[in-house]
Symmetry: D2
Subunit: 432 residues, 4 copies
Amino acid sequence: MTMPSPQPGGVPLQHTSLHQHFDRVRRLSLSLAAPLTDEDCQVQSMPDASPTKWHLAHVTWFFETFILERFESGFRAFDPTFRVLFNSYYQGIGERHPRPQRGLITSPTLAQVKRYRADVDERMSALLAARSDDAELASLVTLGLHHEQQHQELLLTDIKHVLSFNPSHPPYARRWPIGAVNPQALRWHAHEGGLVDVGHDGSTDGAFCFDNETPRHRAFLVPFEIASRPVSNDEFIAFMDDGGYRRPELWLSMGWDWVQAAQREAPMYWQRHGDCWMTHTLQGLVDIDPHTPVCHLSYFEADAYARWAGARLPTETEWEIAARALSRPASVHDNFIERGAFHPVPSAVHGDAQPVQMFGDVWEWTQSNYNPYPGYVPLPGAVGEYNGKFMCNQFVLRGGSCATPAGHVRASYRNFFPPDAQWQFSGLRLAR
Amino acid sequence: MTMPSPQPGGVPLQHTSLHQHFDRVRRLSLSLAAPLTDEDCQVQSMPDASPTKWHLAHVTWFFETFILERFESGFRAFDPTFRVLFNSYYQGIGERHPRPQRGLITSPTLAQVKRYRADVDERMSALLAARSDDAELASLVTLGLHHEQQHQELLLTDIKHVLSFNPSHPPYARRWPIGAVNPQALRWHAHEGGLVDVGHDGSTDGAFCFDNETPRHRAFLVPFEIASRPVSNDEFIAFMDDGGYRRPELWLSMGWDWVQAAQREAPMYWQRHGDCWMTHTLQGLVDIDPHTPVCHLSYFEADAYARWAGARLPTETEWEIAARALSRPASVHDNFIERGAFHPVPSAVHGDAQPVQMFGDVWEWTQSNYNPYPGYVPLPGAVGEYNGKFMCNQFVLRGGSCATPAGHVRASYRNFFPPDAQWQFSGLRLAR
Amino acid sequence: MTMPSPQPGGVPLQHTSLHQHFDRVRRLSLSLAAPLTDEDCQVQSMPDASPTKWHLAHVTWFFETFILERFESGFRAFDPTFRVLFNSYYQGIGERHPRPQRGLITSPTLAQVKRYRADVDERMSALLAARSDDAELASLVTLGLHHEQQHQELLLTDIKHVLSFNPSHPPYARRWPIGAVNPQALRWHAHEGGLVDVGHDGSTDGAFCFDNETPRHRAFLVPFEIASRPVSNDEFIAFMDDGGYRRPELWLSMGWDWVQAAQREAPMYWQRHGDCWMTHTLQGLVDIDPHTPVCHLSYFEADAYARWAGARLPTETEWEIAARALSRPASVHDNFIERGAFHPVPSAVHGDAQPVQMFGDVWEWTQSNYNPYPGYVPLPGAVGEYNGKFMCNQFVLRGGSCATPAGHVRASYRNFFPPDAQWQFSGLRLAR
Amino acid sequence: MTMPSPQPGGVPLQHTSLHQHFDRVRRLSLSLAAPLTDEDCQVQSMPDASPTKWHLAHVTWFFETFILERFESGFRAFDPTFRVLFNSYYQGIGERHPRPQRGLITSPTLAQVKRYRADVDERMSALLAARSDDAELASLVTLGLHHEQQHQELLLTDIKHVLSFNPSHPPYARRWPIGAVNPQALRWHAHEGGLVDVGHDGSTDGAFCFDNETPRHRAFLVPFEIASRPVSNDEFIAFMDDGGYRRPELWLSMGWDWVQAAQREAPMYWQRHGDCWMTHTLQGLVDIDPHTPVCHLSYFEADAYARWAGARLPTETEWEIAARALSRPASVHDNFIERGAFHPVPSAVHGDAQPVQMFGDVWEWTQSNYNPYPGYVPLPGAVGEYNGKFMCNQFVLRGGSCATPAGHVRASYRNFFPPDAQWQFSGLRLAR
């Protein structure tokens, strides 16, 4: 969350004004909610997930609380009760509504939350117009937009979880098939290791980053190889058919307990129908496509698969170095949220020279714990609660997914989840 | 649930046709939901409670499944998936959607459920018109209407629970104050005991009853006295001020564990504001009125209060005999749901001759476990699951509440809840 | 626990002095612990059960606290820390050591507890010798002895539970077979009902009783029949073979949840070995004998069996009236603890005139909740915590078991456990 | 657990034969159990801890299963049931007795376990005498002895936990005070960082190591400083007095939940007595000494303290590099188990040149997750389950404690526990 540059940025900001970018990001949130009923937007299906309505309000609260309250003259809260209701976890802002009860708040309604958004948007527009050269404002707005983009992804993964409880698997989107099958054999790309620099690099990663990507620092790598593409569904089915979920020697001790506690035998959202596997997606219940990257894996499953395959998960440093070696960074040509697939697509051949699907499609579990970089310092104040305090019992995922907005991720971007989390679009890429 | 009479009935049916009664009961359900938003109707706040939308659908499912499916020629289900979604607990009907996940079903929406209601109502109307002299049909319709009335009460207690999570305590209704303060000193009414007959009596209780009120049977009672009115808020506050929640000798062992586990110190929904107590109601957050019957007590609290007061709870037989001695049975003049108070009202003097508020206002805990009467036989088939299978670890409450439809209760009516349940309008009347 | 008679008594006291009886009961406790190692006596296998060492100490604490402290001049506690450590649930005596942690107290050791017993016995002997005509002392001593007898039974059921965790099922006793097989067809004995008197009757039940057996009072019974003997293992196996554990319509709703939560399919302690059933007993792992009363049933299982058999459980009043009609009361000729079987024995023919095995062998679940009799008043003071505060969510069992000391039970004796308890020697006798 | 050397070893083995070392280690286990009663040795106080009796048997099982069964001709198990009963977590060996039920196994008794030890010792002696030049045998015996040393430490921390439940805090040892107070001001020792080699180094760390210390590999370190001694009790009390346990900004998010869930306000085993703090130790209940290293901290507490102090925890690499810079490695002069203090001692001045108490006294939490070193490969077979499968959600601790046998730890030694574990002798040393 360091914002070193006077020109706020990130990839998609390079050719648009901040004001235009603000409008675009804010509109995307509303368009993601558009296919949903008022009832859909109300529901919270587990403590880790939040209602759509809450996401729409919380990201607005962020702009109101961290920007309008500070920069707007004569600031008055849209509704003072929202300060508590839509605070996620910022102890520095005061009391918060309990997370597991977000779905119990029926008032404000979705319609009222949309009015809240319109009101804050209008005031933000006025502010951005009036103070277009205020670098500090620009930095905070950029932070707020990246924050909203993170919640756009969560909005999709959370509503996918809600819809999974409905026996009829109502589709959120209707655009299927989403990609042509084009099987690609797995190849290995070698890296020679040695001293490398890791962490956010403004020259290639864009101007913006979160504080957990800093400081850029030196590390020593032993030589390694990384796979040309993510593990696919048919590869994972081979693991399952080989007794993968029944062999304790393939699992971490904690992972084996996790398998047994819920009698797990397939990735989340998979259902066996006769001899075939189907899966709940945002496009409804569909057949498993063999050549699509497997997703909704926990760390435990990713780790067990890698052990079964005689390989391992990459470290986050290895992943980052491999991503930096690509000829182009993340772009709108990858399978990000803008494509509207809302699901990974089959791996396609892009030539042998370099790995594919490093960005988009599925987040890739690494074997690295989410820890501070050497010399890491959280931002002062409440926004400093963004990252550092979660550095415990979480693993780093890299590369973004089909639910990530284009322009949000980069080579240095660190996502993180506990090892049992499955409801994100999380898969894996092998290393050795 | 025995339906012995060819003329379907119950108190309110005596002067109306069954068809008119059907229309009236069905309309009341919709009018109870009218003040609520789509979001309000979606939410389930605890496993024991259900969403408003679910209540509206489930009672309709009852008519479709137990009546239309049997009596309508060329029956086709409105939506076959509803058979599972809106089955509450009838194992005989097949698979059921898990109770704690009722709030996660966003589809059908509230609008769709209303269309479901309209469709079933239309088909039921046609059936009732065509077969107005079919006694078996009439019996089942009567059962279905009493079933819907039970869910009307639950709809209110469940939505009250939902709204309690909102820090702003949005009112469901706006009619306050709901009764004039008219303090009445507690008096005792003596009964001489001896051999009595208990259970449903068609000549005074109306033609309809549930199976758990039968068979009418003989019992022996020792002499007892019963209080002239329910325990009031100021009396309960005296118990609290005397350390009632801190003195283990006043509590059942299991009740004391219950107090300590959640550090309880007041009835459900009470909040201390400075020196005063306020309470969440369906009319919003209001001051505690001293002369209103205390409610939202668990059995544990009712029992502890009675012990502190040097008295005890009545048995259900004592309560029934006292209720039969009243000069008039339950009527629309009592504080039932039709009054629109949705909260007990202060006790008023009605002369010294007999107890007041036996019917309406608050359900009254008895010391009787919910057990079968001698010779009790459940109805055959799936409707036989209505009552008997819950006869374990529940206590009987008598008399109805401010959320009970007039005409639904009678002297022999047996309601039942586990001893820790608080979210019903449950209070107590002393005996000795 | 009323002690109305100046001559303390109970059946076994009629022909012995209280002093002799004291010595005999106290010795029995030690002899029950004799086959056990120090390790056996230390362990607590679940919160509901207690270590043997704790039982031996707690019953001694009862004499020290309620008798010596009051009657002994110059009383000094054997060890002041024992007052807390060995208080079971008497809030009136002050702080108590947490029940689930009884097995964690390694000091005092078993040897020290035996010294504690010897010291208290010596002082009690002196007191009994010096004040042999003190009726109040005699009453309390009698109460203390009945209390110790209850713990003798618990000592056996608790150590049986401990030993069940050992894969080698070490036997506590070695006396097998314990009874000759002598199958008896089930017959029914009719009672005409009407007004009856229930509760403790000094003329037939002995002078002593607990307070929960009082006051003797009148009740009205409809005619009923009761089975000639308890349900046997082969009858219960027929229930199991008929899908008893897989048919929800046979179970209380709460019972069905209980079955499913633990995937139950047989009584506690049963193990399938190939085509046969074996069971863990205090005599080691043995074959199921078809003609022995089934035991270690929960209330749920007893109730489901009765429903399957087209019958029901008796009420406690019915059971008591049937027991009073026997030609002889409970006696040492029944299968009580003194016989040393520590397991029910096969039912034997005693003539057709009356039911067999009403006393001893297995406690018989009744359908009656454990509630106060009309006019029940607990004793004042801490000993009043003995019974009344447990009158919630428990069912009454009648008749004693193979682990009950002879002379401890009578027709009016009320034992009680929650409906899911299985570790007592609990079976059932049908009624209809 | 690599055993590369033909001469089995480790520090204490350099001047003794393996046979002598075997005898010494085995005797120490028995002498640690000597102060305990049979009852003490039976009890398991939480699922994470094991009974003393189980420790004594399990380490013996290790020799019997992994060595005698393989090397002894005509091998017969001492008791075949022990194979299951005393297997800790080796899936490769087959079925295991459930960990939380270890305290419920009363048979074999302690006396029988001692006979088991004697039998295995005798057979091991014969084997060691007969095959004194078998390198593979020597390697496995060395592994078994290090395994037993780990359980010697656990035996002490587990019995300390058991004794803490006794209100009288019976002392395990009676040697108090255990060290003279000699306050030492905290100083900082700087390291310049750069490329370093980490992991086991046979030339300085002794011949033996566990597999998780390998392979030795290169890493890059930024410059850092490390504190001259562990954090002391008076420093930690200053944190507490400054509201340390009440300020969420000092804690990891997960740590703050942990604090609130149990209302924590001091380290484990601390009790407030009036204005003073006392603590449960293996020497009984004693006053907190201000100059002694604070211990029984969770990772959460260590991390929060470091943040409050404006510093941080060292990484495990930093710790190892600092330890390698000491003029002497771990030795019997440190406060290890052989000293008999069984508690950390006050920090004493050893000159300014280098940190003190790196070895012994308290394990020091590092900020490093317990992860595999680059190129790590577990041993093949069941002994390969020793380390790798626990590499999830655990943090590394370094340096050994007052309960660690001298000669067991070294600079490369990696201990590991989950972040909420407190019952080990765990403290911290600051870095920055």
